[in-house]
Symmetry: C2
Subunit: 540 residues, 2 copies
């Protein structure tokens, strides 16, 4: 290209700096000094106080030996302390590892060692667990105890969070990282098999994911976000940074209980919340039974499974505006969202549910969403039928897996991120998930989506939970087997009735050949462990 547009026009400190979500806090603290940034139980932090605390924490962590590239692990519920870590740790160029509070000692130990944690900040209510985690470790991380309900540390941690923070400089002159590709967070996947993988985020991606969410979800300084989604899931789907970008208010929540949620919605004027179907269902059932209705609409961004029409309808009745989205740890949370079209407003609820059941279209920072075709390098047509692996490309996909170049290469093969989910592309450009690649059932050469069968099962009024997996079959290769938990206090239903119900709503070959009534095994994040069910069928 012509030279003149480059000569003497190189980046300089005035016109180029790294994109980092820490800048959102600086900006909001400048503009919204006295506005409420964080509510945590009865405590509130203004934006200037929140920023001063984050700077003090960064300064204190630096004094405690944390440097750029070091990992700081945190085991806390959705509290202001964990939120503060989302800014203080990146201010140092260090890497935040927010750990899943539902994990067992062995997995936590694996993560601390694999992630190379230099400091571990933990809520003292987990002190016994942490003691167990650390017992066999020769070189444990430095411990910082957060004393809330659990009280002060009983001899385990030498540092107390509030004391440490108080020792720091509230005007600590943090600097942006020099390179926006610098790591900012380390989030472990909750794999259903094997060791969790450490997903590395960078500052640029976190900035773009936060802006992208704030735009897509219509956030503004008037937004009030309730933390029903664990902050350890993809840094709260990047809302930890996005809410601050908008200048909105974070309302913390340690435990998702319907009355605690409702109280906070009313008291703080909540406008936005996120969560898995299990959270939404719990709230809808509880509010409905108690005859409660929200005074003003609350947006509920739902990830993990499509909302059935009954849920959409009940949501509308109670005042929830449900937005269906899709994402993975590898994509900073939300990467696909079911954008509502104008003409959907007039649809009957069942038709609307069919539209909204689709995961949707890429968020701002996603360049391309495609379905892998039959041949390598090709993409499936947008016919709503041809199934293939869902592929993503864009600026909000992870740097890769920590210390696992083989898995990183595999995930990014051919210049696309491979989600491992099977989906179709509809003619209107919306994708719809059909199954996890490894959960598909191949029966007599036909692909059967376990999810499609599960959707039918969930529509049965007596079914509380259902999972369908492949069962080895001499004749067909595989056939579907359903594992079902029934609702309590209802009349029981038998295998024959369930199979007949499926045949009435599905192509006959897709109906389960066998039904097992039982509790379903789950991961710490509530995912059904289909591998365990498969092993059971295989007699492992």
């Amino acid at each position: 290209m012509a030279k003149p547009f480059h000569d003497g026009l190189e980046p300089n400190p005035a016109n180029y700096s790294a994109l980092t979500p820490v800048s959102f806090l600086k900006r909001s603290a400048h503009i919204f000094r006295d506005r409420t940034a964080v509510v945590d139980d009865d405590m509130t932090l203004s934006y200037s106080e929140f920023y001063a605390r984050c700077r003090a924490l960064a300064s204190a962590l630096e004094s405690a030996g944390v440097a750029a590239g070091d990992t700081v692990s945190v085991l806390c519920h959705n509290t202001h302390e964990l939120l503060e870590c989302h800014y203080a740790v990146p201010m140092l160029g260090a890497v935040l590892n927010a750990m899943n509070t539902r994990l067992d000692a062995a997995t936590l130990r694996f993560i601390l060692q694999h992630g190379g944690a230099r400091v571990l900040i933990y809520d003292t209510q987990f002190e016994d667990l942490i003691r167990e985690v650390l017992a066999p470790l020769g070189d444990p991380p430095r411990l910082v105890a957060v004393a809330r309900q659990g009280g002060a540390s009983q001899g385990l941690a030498r540092l107390d969070y509030e004391q440490l923070l108080a020792s720091g400089d509230r005007e600590y002159p943090w600097a942006k990282v020099a390179d926006e590709w610098h790591p900012i967070a380390l989030n472990y996947t909750s794999g259903t098999t094997g060791n969790p993988k450490g997903v590395v985020y960078h500052h640029r991606g976190a900035y773009l994911a936060a802006m992208s969410n704030a735009m897509a979800m219509g956030m503004s300084p008037q937004s009030v976000y309730l933390w029903t989604l664990p902050m350890f899931h993809c840094n709260g789907w990047s809302y930890s940074w996005g809410v601050t970008a908008a200048g909105g208010t974070h309302v913390c929540l340690s435990k998702v209980q319907p009355d605690a949620v409702l109280r906070r919605i009313r008291r703080h004027g909540v406008t936005h919340m996120c969560g898995a179907p299990i959270v939404l269902n719990m709230l809808l059932n509880d509010f409905h039974e108690r005859g409660e209705r929200l005074d003003a609409p609350v947006q509920f961004a739902l990830g993990g499974a499509a909302p059935p029409s009954a849920v959409i309808q009940r949501g509308q009745e109670l005042g929830f505006d449900i937005v269906h989205l899709y994402g993975l740890t590898e994509s900073y949370g939300p990467s696909i969202v079911c954008v509502m079209q104008d003409d959907w407003q007039n649809l009957a609820v069942d038709d609307l549910a069919r539209k909204v059941a689709r995961q949707g279209v890429g968020l701002y920072a996603i360049d391309d969403v495609a379905i892998a075709g039959a041949r390598k390098g090709e993409h499936a047509p947008a016919d709503g039928r041809t199934m293939g692996e869902l592929l993503l490309r864009g600026n909000t996909l992870m740097k890769g897996y920590l210390g696992n170049p083989a898995a990183t290469r595999e995930a990014f093969e051919d210049g696309w991120y491979h989600t491992g989910d099977l989906a179709v592309m509809h003619p209107d450009g919306y994708v719809e998930l059909k199954d996890r690649a490894k959960d598909i059932i191949i029966s007599g050469g036909e692909n059967i989506s376990s999810q499609e069968i599960e959707e039918v099962l969930y529509r049965h009024p007596l079914v509380l939970e259902a999972a369908v997996v492949a069962m080895p079959d001499e004749k067909w290769g595989e056939t579907p087997c359903a594992f079902i938990t029934l609702r309590h206090g209802r009349d029981p239903v038998g295998e024959t009735e369930i199979i007949a119900y499926c045949k009435a709503h599905l192509a006959s070959y897709k109906a389960p050949r066998k039904v097992v009534f039982c509790e379903l095994p789950k991961t710490s994040t509530g995912k059904i462990r289909k591998n365990v069910l498969r092993e059971r069928l295989n007699g492992a």
Copy 2:
């Protein structure tokens, strides 16, 4: 820093791509296929049609010899053709130079030559002007005629815009630029003295400015933007890309006339518009006189001067929600915005006007806003009094001036962009402009802001326009001299009355010593040419 966070975690095509505003069009065309992207008189373009036309134009321009780094100049009003160029030209990695339609032949010629235009797309209503511009040129750019009211080209251009576009590939496989620092646009400043300078934008900055505006102005797919601001001003303050990012509708407007504006507001449900005070005043006066009131609130983003309380009040009465902002060609348009605080809602209109008169706080992509202090490298305190040059730093400042490394270095001295405007920082962190650095009057060692005097003059009911400049004075060095245009059809007012009025509202030493009643000389963009007034006083 520790190695593990970088090993094998380099950017790859799946997780890294250039930020470019062209991606907004691709995304909106995918999601909002049948939604209206552009309205231009009686023509409407859906998002898929708009995208297809932009791709076809890119493809046709490529066939016509345009390559990455080439300049494409355009001389059109706010039409769909100019909007299309905002996407088609960057698709090729070429550089869009949207020219000011009010410039004279000599200045246009200077710009075409200085910018190295390879192609010139022009509306045939400017054909005579273009003929004059090109006459002395040995190697003129390739001409493409846009035939609207002016009809087909009369023998000047060999290419017709619509024919050229029709020859292109509507599915042209454009690719993102490889480097987001790549130039995207070239905008010439309307300097009051000397030759205009060519301000170079890059793709990253254009992307961030567009997102930033869309967020700050609360744009959504429901937004309808009326083009009252010339698209040749900083690419329409980056709204050319921001409206598309939001998936909103562009309503074109070739000439700002109150009845045309009102008709479009009503017909298309306009929600957002921008402009200079002269545009806002014209609309407010006209609507008020005709007793018109807007059916739904319209946001008017006002740049160029603070809205006086009378304007804010009339705006409120008529349905305009006025947002005061500040920007320069060098900052992609808006870089500072007067964010409304909750407690301002309850202020009396005069108090509100004083708050809103401040330019405000940095937009998202601006890292720092500061006031230069007395000593080099220091910043003035936030006391609302200490005046200094307004400095900016962030990702939405130009690459620099084309072919002018000395001016670029000077503008970016010490790692800040020097705006040349004098301002104060208020204790709440909002900046307020006091004057252009070169317009300050130094009288007996005291700094007098010409703008402060002008504000008082503008409050006088008989003053239509006013400009104050320094007049040489033997005793004081300089004293203020006011140039005033009075309102038509009102009783005249004399010099003595004006000076007395100023003394009643200002410190006595700030009142003008002399008042001249006349028409004020202006630039093509409507800026008062104070240098001409100064020359007049100096007898030049």
